[in-house]
Symmetry: C2
Subunit: 140 residues, 2 copies
């Protein structure tokens, strides 16, 4: 690796007066990269229109469960593709799989999405993004 980060606070600026760009100097990111990776994985699982429709379709059932053959038709996707997306949603914690006989029934994990929102609210500084229901509050 020959990547040398720019490191603005370590550049020997010839004149100390014009380097006023960085004022408060946030420094190291408050959100640890480990937590960010976990969060990003969940968001990435939701970052596909077909997966969102899979979630919606499964949740639309009265028992909030569906097998694969229920999902290939409405989404107009092949069976391997649906299985792939379902696996991603299961790995992300949004769905659970239960085999009954020959069929695999997928059901939604009740608090998964709200927990994700709660994580977004509580994850250190990102919580500041969540308050202020209307954009007319923070004058400070």
């Amino acid at each position: 690796m020959t990547t040398i980060p720019i490191s603005p606070s370590a550049m020997g600026d010839p004149a100390g007066d014009l380097s006023e760009c960085c004022g408060p100097t946030p420094g190291a990111p408050k959100l640890q990269s480990e937590s960010a990776t976990v969060l990003a994985t969940k968001f990435k699982a939701l970052g596909d229109a077909n997966r969102l429709m899979l979630l919606a379709t499964i949740a639309s059932g009265e028992s909030a469960e569906a097998c694969v053959c229920d999902l290939t038709g409405p989404l107009n996707l092949g069976q391997p593709t649906v299985s792939h997306h379902l696996k991603i949603l299961v790995d992300a914690g949004f769905l659970t799989r239960e085999k009954r006989g020959t069929w695999s029934y997928y059901s939604v994990v009740p608090g998964a999405l709200s927990a994700l929102c709660a994580d977004l609210c509580s994850e250190s500084v990102l919580g500041d993004l969540m308050r202020t229901p209307d954009p007319a509050e923070r004058n400070a």
Copy 2:
């Protein structure tokens, strides 16, 4: 295109007794693909650890704004990469850009994330996934 969807309800099953797989028959997905695409775009913008840390870093400033040179150092990313991620976050509606002099100051859009969660709650059937105690008292 030679893709022929399996169409479970249209398969001529030789015996009508073992095709009990599809019970409630969710049918067409309740979440329209248009809304799903918009939602997926926003989730996709959040589906990267570096972009989440960019959001957190910007929000950590007392004025909730930062210029690019503030962000290349802490995230250990090149300046073009940071600009690219910031553009994605701006396009998704999570950040705004304001040019003051030579610098571009990025600030968070106050209600963007909570609006995304609200969309998740209200988007047709996906709201059933959210009915857990905490974060929103969304009355009808």
